[in-house]
Amino acid sequence: MQLLLTVMGTNAEVVSHLLAKNPNNLYERGEKGLTVRLVYPKFSSEEVQVLIYVKPDPIELVKNSPDLYDITHYINDREFAASSIFVSSIRKALGTALNGKPKEEFNAWVGHLFEMELSFGPIATDLRDQEIEALFMPIGYQVEIERSQSFIREKSSARFVKLKGNQTVQMALRHVSILIPVMDNYKHYFIDEREIEKLDRYGEGWLESHPLKAMILKRSLRFQNMISQSKFYEKETNSVKIDEPSKIRLNDLRYEAIINYVKALAKKESIVDLGAGEGKLSVQLGFLDGIKEIISVEPSNKARLRALDRFELAKGKHGFLEPISVTGSLFYFDDRLRNKDVMILCEVIEHINEPRLPKIFETILKDYRPGVLIVTTPNQEYNAVYEMKEEMRHADHRFEWTRKEFKRNCENWSSPFPYQLSYQGIGEEHPIYGHPTQMAIFTRKGDSHS
């Protein structure tokens, strides 16, 4: 991580006074496991070059991070990338220039526009070259971007930026101090409140009118509660939300259809939501009358924790029965799930490879023996209405079935066991393609359910 500042034209050597760094000395300071170095590769009355770079301790750098047990954590670009680490480590060395407080006799030069080049990097960023240009062009720079050599890829992801323009030394340093972290990809887990103050100060005089102000704010402070504290913050009034009304609606319709079906059942004291995910259906079931137990089964711990949050929020609301969240999986047998009144597989089966399904249904119908089993899955025929061709509705769908395929499979699964089958469609019906979602209901014979 480095920055090379080149100042051209008469009086270029004043720069050393603006920086308060003697051109004849090497500068080297240790800074929390980092070494900051500064040298003038060139120093003449016509051209002055200042190189400042930071040498981190690679072993210290990776300690105390949350990703300690991930190999990629040890091999990362933080040691090299021009980032907030870079900016904050050189701040002390460049303090005089950044604050525009040289010795009095040079005060006049603080506001002097020099012809200069700023070359810094490498940067690791998800921004495209044009986006980088859009950050610097409005504030008076020409931008050149150079990529590193790559050995196995078409294009390297390591870039070096060179800016040219007429700027004061102070402003130029302030620009890069703000914009280097904006470009950098690093995931921040925490941002110090002092960052707000820094942004407000270094952004003075240019950020207010920058066309990408909102983006710069967002990427500098990352978190909404931080962003809103900045003096550059403007409430966004015209936020455009892209919503997919049909799909969101379908989800609700699906829950509604299931809830209505369960509501009408005579026996519904105990309900099992299999593959409950984040508990969206389970929580709605919690508000139904006449239910004494809801078991919300999900293998993913992450999803379960979200479900628990959801249940916690609903807790205490009138008539809410908190579902019991359990770690469980369709590929295992779970004693706790036997002999329940209702079992639900809502949009679950299409995420399972087809050959594994018969065994799952055997476990449910033979061993768990629910009074009623409700299964929903997409109706593949309806994809035509969405103008979809071969593709499936979700990247993780292992299959999507036509109504005929679904029926045939349901019949095969249920035939060895005493269950009766019926079907319903969910969502807006199409005369040819049917409903977007199909629902099968397996009712145990001899039980007085509906």
């Binding site: 480095q2 040298v39 003038y40 590193s148 050995f151 196995i152 070096f160 293998p299």
Partner: protein, 864 residues
Amino acid sequence: MTKIYLPYAGIVLLVGPSNSGKTTLLNRLVNEKSILSSEVISSDQFRVLVSDVEFINWNQRPKDESDVLYDEYFRVSNEAFDTMDFLIGKRCRLNKLTIIDATHLKEDDRERYIRMGKKYHVPVVSIVFNIPEKELLTRDEHRDYPRGKNRIKQQYQQFKRTIRFIKKEGFHRTYILNEEELKNLEMGRQQDSLLVNLGNGIDFIGDIHGCFEEFMELLEKLGYKENIEGYYVHPEGRKILSLGDVMSRGPRSLETLQFFKKHVGMGHAYMIDSNHGWKIARWLDGRSVNLAHGDEKLAAEFEEYENLYGHEASNQLKNEFKELLLAAKSHLIIEKNGVKVAVATHAGIRDHYIGKQSQRISDFCRYGDSDGLDEHGKPIRKDWTIEHQSSQLIIWGHDPKPQPLLVNNTLNIDQGVVFGGRLTAYRFPEKQFVSVEAKRDYANVPDNPLREWERKRLAPPNLGKFINGFSVLTEQIGEVAIYKEGIKSALDDFSHYTLPLEEIIYLPPTMSPTPKPSSLEGYMEHPMEAFEYYQANGVDTMVVEKKHMGSRGILFLFKNKEAAKELIGRESLGAIYTRTGRAFFQKELETQILEVLNKDLAGYFEKYNTDFVLLDAEILPWNLKAKELIMNQYAHVGEMALIDRNKLRAGLQKAYENGQNVGDWLRETEEKIDNAVVFNEVYQKYCWETEGLEGIQIAPFHTLAHSTETFFNKAHTWHMEKNKEFSELSSLFMETEYRVVTDDDSKKAAIQWWEEMTENGHEGFVVKPESFVVRNKGKLLQPAIKVRGRKYLHIIYGIDYLEPENLSRLKKRNASKKQRNALKEFSLGIEAVNRFIKRESLERYHECVLGVLALEAEPIDPRL
């Protein structure tokens, strides 16, 4: 002199009016140390504890006062009794003896304790103090707080009723003692009849069911010898403990029962109660029972016996057996150095039943936990083992399984000898199994439980057994404990990402690098430390195999689709998966590879007469996921380093030329450029484009199993020969280069070989002991140690890891946890394959691979 024996645990009620001498007696017994003061609970004591007053006298008071005082006394008494009962309940739960000092003249009071005894499965005994009224009145006058004549008289009336009916109230025992008897009463204590001392060791024997021949063979195998008196005794003084069901179903029930009658009587053996035992006992007792489920065979044997030896001899024998069976305990507790380490029961037990006796407990121990009847009228067996929480080992039989089954510290050792299975003995505390094959299927029933087991072999594993942590009993290192956190993560994997559970019959262990970092400067790892590790552990011959630059892959290849259907319940030509159980290739490519391999190996399956082969291999190039890692991580970092350092050099070079004193900075930067160049070279070695089958190479370095055998007993040289054999059968297979190290010369040569290959950027090699499984002084050794090259380690420890100030810090790594996990995972992997080969259930082999994946979720330095 009268002596009564108090039960080992339970409730003793003293019954008698005030002044009958209850407290006096107890005080004497405490002084004589025949009871503990903490075993005595008295209502007086509790009245003080809850209200500070021991006694309230309301006699000789005006009515308005006496009524109030009476009410107050009543209230205090109620609270005192509530508190007392709470405490008594806790003592009962803990199986302690409690002697209650109160009058207990009301039937309700007595009944309350009888119910409490039932609830906690402890005996309730009463001791009645039968003292004449006159004496009571005399004593009252001399006490501190006289109760008064009226009250004594009133109490005596109640007492007279009590004494008339108490024997019918349902106490385990009732002692009615008069003044004289009480004066000289001695109190003894019954021993805990469920306790068995471990002594010189115990051999637990599973259900024999009249398979006397197999039983004799087993005793011989265990080292028992018949002495001149005809007893089978062990030279080390070990004892036999039968888990019951010694008779019925099989051919020689009478001889087996005779054996136990004889040996139990002499203290050479123990035998516990069981379902068949109980039924036969009642039959012998003349009750009307329906002899079925093989019990009729025993009746037939008796008929024959009677024909041969006459009615009298037969009756005599019947009587003896009846006594034996009725005396059998529901369960026995094995005590080792005063600690109750194990419990033997027939069909099961609940933790809070242990150490107690009751009808309910006996039934549970005989039949296990059941959940009503199924459609065919057979009991639905519930799995009580899941609920066992303590670390006491529960050894049981009753429910035949093909293999001894350890779940949650419960061990089933009924291997269904009478159904054609095996008779198992469990040597304790050695924890070894000894077994004898059945000569034939004697029971010959349509619902043979071992065949049922086979039918249910691929049933989904029972989640309850795993979810809160479990342990796997492995042949190699005994019990491997698997903890909850890892299981959750593994369960998520098995539910979302892996192949179907049935197809994952093995997962390879993690591999440790050299236990110590290299002692050489400039090296993180070096072959010397690997050789030293094995040599220090007594291994002289090592096999050193080149580490391919690919990813670990398991190939489970079937002879044909039918064979797969039989083995894993699905038609398939095979599965190729990663070390975390995920599909190695995309579906289409996998199908192509499997078809080619199936054709190429057709002759192999024939030649070895096997339905499948299981291979542990390295597959090249890296799989898709690893490739993404290279692209997104290594290449990016390498390129970042290079451009950063090159730019820096240019700047410093210029400064240097302009007379700045940056020589050191420049040299340092140049060195670092070299490091970055090496880094960029190394990761490139792992990347090449493949198109379809083109470029895919598989190096099977372990041939793990065929249909009926595993090859963990073969030397690595054998595995390398197999590797060669495979490479000749299919162009998809490649050979693995290897060397055998036996002496200094071959060691030197191997090191040189390592230097050469790693200098090229090659990953390195793996050092293995000659045998697959090696121990030193009983301790399992690392199955393999990887030694990675200097250059390669740049992509593990970082671009500048060889800089002395970095290397010295990085060398402070600790591989001990990695090594421990490697051994656990190695043992689990072997266990999984062995279980699969023995056709054990999916649940049984899956628990091993679940364990491996759970261990892999544990936090360990990923650079090791």
